[in-house]
């Protein structure tokens, strides 16, 4: 029974190393030029999906419905402004987007449906959850369109969450 190594992801990374900068007695290395991130680098495509959340995948009316549902069913823990609570993660902004970037909407839908609300899991039906998802998309700045987001797995599976708008095809 020696330690086993499961493949599939690398355990090593690039050798970033911090530098620091003296500032009087206080040594603060808040900025170090060597870390400059490469702005504009494309997301890595992780899923073979054609559509993304940038493709107007929900309707404004659905997001409004989702908003009411959110206020009723989610805001108590996740906050009226989706900023999160003591125990509950934010549902808008870079932390939320980073953790879901590259995943599909079915992942988000299932995560909500199978874990929320935490003290009475499973009371929200698929449509309720999809409406909330539509509202979360709106709150995160993704555009609305004419058609509603369908709550069936197949439809949700084909829509990728992407932090930034994909570059238009050449």
């Amino acid at each position: 029974m020696r330690g086993r190594r499961l493949g599939g992801w690398a355990t090593r990374r690039l050798g970033d190393s911090a530098t620091r900068r003296g500032h009087g007695a206080l040594v603060v290395a808040l900025v170090a030029g060597v870390f400059a991130a490469s702005i504009g680098a494309a997301d890595t495509h992780r899923l073979p999906v054609a559509r993304t959340v940038w493709d107007s995948v929900y309707s404004a009316g659905q997001a409004a419905r989702g908003e009411s549902a959110y206020v009723k069913g989610c805001a108590r823990c996740h906050g009226a402004a989706l900023t999160g609570g003591d125990q509950s993660p934010p549902l808008a902004g870079s932390a939320f987007l980073g953790n879901w970037n590259g995943q599909s909407l079915i992942d988000l839908q299932q995560r909500i449906k199978t874990t929320m609300p935490s003290d009475s899991i499973g009371i929200y039906d698929a449509k309720f959850v999809t409406d909330v998802v539509a509202f979360m998309l709106k709150a995160n700045g993704f555009p609305a369109g004419a058609a509603e987001l369908a709550s069936d797995d197949a439809a949700l599976k084909d829509i990728a969450i992407r932090t930034s708008r994909p570059a238009p095809p050449n």
Partner: protein, 674 residues
């Protein structure tokens, strides 16, 4: 109520257990056979002092980036469904790792070298578990031994204290009633409305010292409670051998007790909460216990509890054996910011101006480290009562002053001003300023406001609820007297109040927005972000070292990869943005002989490596990042380390987004022929 206990002792594990029972180390020192100094991790924070320090040094700057996965343990099957919020830090004693895991908070014992399962124990609590205010796997366990018996203690979601035989995972029948103490009973109050659904629980790890186990109390998220009345979060000490209650500390004083008069109009009677949902710390040498007490009922509105509200948001020191109060210091008077006290107080033996001080250092959401002489309760550096703004919410009571430490300087941003808004480009700044114009800005202790659709929607705050440093707390290096903490600068919270309907709450005011949720920005973006960017300037998250002999920040660096939303942002194209760090309130720190280790709270997707989150190592003297390894999901709990079979291991919990909970053990690669 059903009790299931599954003991799965594999033959080899049995052999280890038997060898362990007979080991001379167990008999040598009956009170403290296991310590971090011996390469073990016998308490949630390594020791009972909150240190998160281990002197192990096999994993170093020279080799950290070569760490490999030794084993992985997925927690999906420990409960009825996968868990996505794994916050437990395991214990390691005598070659066995003990941890909670899974949505129903099972306890498992794993082989420390292989990760192989030795036993599991799961309490099925039925509706009582389902109704629990603090669900899921919790933060961990306590271990106790008298040199012969070895026990694992944990608190179930339904608020029962269970003692398990560490060797088998079976309950210890002599403890409490058939191995369990009902924590909703014998608590100097009737838990309402009934034992099954009555709101009180605990997801932190119990802590044991001098044969006393101390248990905290926690409630639901409290920004919009259903009532200004609630159960009270009294803190109790129990005999670790019998489960007998030894003492109860009334975190809200009863009539006739000191502090009762800090609740005006008899408001100590209906008010509840005021528990300790984070970690209790014990000084075994001095026989003292330190409680970081949370907010009273109503996180942002205290009109139903006028007065300073002791011991809300106070650090309280008790006698470990009797529960008698030794001293207290209220960090926030009349709490209305949900600062709580969110983390383990840290015992720090320091030398200030040539004088040795047994100190206690308290990290907070407000990004301020409060440092006291832990014997006397006197501040090590002066804490001044500073005048603060009086608010205008009808019915609210305001403290005219708040305590402000003179040293050390705040390690996280704890207020908001126009100058804090992003200025990457004039356009982004203009959008951030427009969003901010709908809120009231101000320094720490700017009070909540009534939310108005035409503004202000609320007070825009950083610190309250999930800012600064939260439940993972900090770490302390006893050799260099340095405190380390990861913290967030970008957790924007809106302190806006609305009048609830009678059906929703009997509070006069609860948290809410006069504008429809999510439209706070009014620009189509996330309420408080601009094109996916925080409206606040980076760094979003930092790692800070504070020298506690001097009370000065030694170094501070951004912690966490620059988020995808920044790196890939069209609006920032062509700009060179230094590493921003990440906002997050799940970042725990671990200190070893030479390193400070902490994980990224967010996943990033780079072109140069697979999607994932980094576990990072910093040179603890300088803050220089000296290594990192890629993990598949956010690091969602404080890392721990131990030595087993001649190798040092680091174990982290990862979970979040679509990735369910998993423990990952890292160690150096096999040496190979030299």
């Amino acid at each position: 109520m059903l009790h299931h206990s599954h003991s799965r002792l594999f033959p080899f594990a049995l052999a280890i257990a038997l060898a362990f029972v007979g080991s001379p180390a167990t008999a040598q020192n009956a009170t403290k056979p296991f310590t971090t100094a011996r390469g073990e991790w016998p308490s949630y924070t390594g020791d009972a002092r909150g240190s998160r320090y281990s002197p192990l040094d096999q994993i170093s700057a020279a080799n950290f980036s070569t760490l490999e996965v030794a084993w992985r343990f997925k927690t999906d099957s420990l409960g009825p469904r996968p868990e996505f919020k794994l916050e437990s830090t395991p214990l390691m004693i005598g070659g066995t790792l003990y941890t909670t895991g899974g949505t129903g908070r099972a306890v498992v014992a794993l082989d420390a070298v292989t990760g192989a399962l030795k036993w599991t124990h799961k309490e099925d609590e039925g509706p009582r578990g389902t109704a629990a205010p603090r669900q899921l796997s919790g933060r961990g366990l306590a271990y106790w031994t008298d040199g012969r018996d070895e026990r694992i203690l944990f608190v179930t979601p339904g608020y029962r204290l269970i003692a398990l035989d560490a060797k088998t995972g079976n309950v210890v029948p002599a403890f409490g009633t058939n191995g369990a103490v009902d924590l909703k009973a014998d608590i100097d109050q009737e838990i309402l409305p009934d034992i099954t659904t009555g709101e009180i629980g605990f997801q932190g790890a119990p802590v044991v010292g001098r044969d006393v186990v101390v248990i905290g109390a926690a409630f639901r998220e409290g920004t919009a409670p259903k009532s200004y009345k609630n159960n009270k979060g009294y803190i109790r000490g129990f005999d670790v051998r019998t489960g007998k209650r030894l003492w109860t500390f009334h975190t809200i004083p009863k009539k006739g007790e000191p502090g009762y008069d800090t609740w005006l109009n008899g408001s100590a009677e209906p008010t509840g909460n005021t528990g300790v949902w984070s970690q209790v710390t014990i000084d075994e040498e001095l026989g003292l216990v330190y409680l970081p007490v949370e907010s009273p009922t109503g996180d942002y509105y205290g009109g139903h509890r006028p007065g300073n509200d002791l011991y809300g948001e106070s650090l309280v020191c008790l006698d470990l054996k009797t529960g008698a109060k030794k001293w207290h210091y209220q960090l926030v008077h009349h709490p209305i910011w949900d600062f709580d006290i969110p983390a383990a107080p840290i015992l720090a033996d320091i030398t200030v101006g040539g004088r040795a001080i047994k100190a206690v250092a308290q990290p907070t959401k407000q990004g301020i480290l409060y440092v006291f002489d832990r014997v006397t309760g006197k501040p090590v550096w002066p804490i001044e009562e500073k005048p603060v703004e009086k608010g205008e919410v009808p019915g609210e009571w305001y403290s005219p002053t708040q305590p402000m430490p003179t040293k050390p300087a705040a390690y996280a941003k704890n207020g908001t001003s126009i100058d804090d808004l992003i200025d990457f480009t004039p356009d982004l700044r203009a959008q951030a300023v427009q969003i901010a114009s709908r809120y009231k800005l101000g320094p720490i202790f700017t009070p909540p406001v009534v939310s108005k659709a035409d503004g202000p929607l609320g007070t825009l705050a950083r610190g309250p609820t999930n800012g600064g440093s939260n439940w993972p707390g900090g770490a302390f290096d006893p050799e260099t007297h340095t405190f380390y903490v990861a913290s967030s600068n970008a957790a924007a919270v809106v302190l806006g109040l609305v009048q609830p309907s009678k059906e929703r709450s009997d509070m006069d005011w609860i948290a809410g927005s006069a504008a429809p949720a999510g439209r706070g920005g009014g620009l189509g973006g996330g309420g408080l972000s601009v094109q996916g960017l925080s409206i606040f300037k980076p760094p979003y998250g930092t790692m800070t070292a504070i020298n506690l002999d001097k009370g000065e920040i030694a170094w501070q660096v951004p912690h966490g990869e620059t988020p995808d939303a920044v790196r890939n942002n069209e609006a920032l194209k062509g700009l060179a943005i230094p590493r921003t760090g990440q906002a997050g309130f799940t970042v725990g720190t671990l200190v070893t002989k030479t390193l400070v280790i902490a994980g990224d709270p967010q996943v990033t997707t780079l072109t140069t490596r697979p999607r994932g989150a980094m576990l990072r190592a910093y040179d603890k003297k300088t803050g220089a990042e000296v290594g990192s390894v890629l993990l598949p999901a956010p690091i969602s709990a404080s890392p721990m380390t131990y030595s087993a079979g001649g190798k040092q291991y680091i174990v982290v919990a990862v979970s979040g987004g679509p990735y369910s909970g998993e423990f990952i053990a890292l160690r150096l690669p096999a040496g190979g022929p030299q």
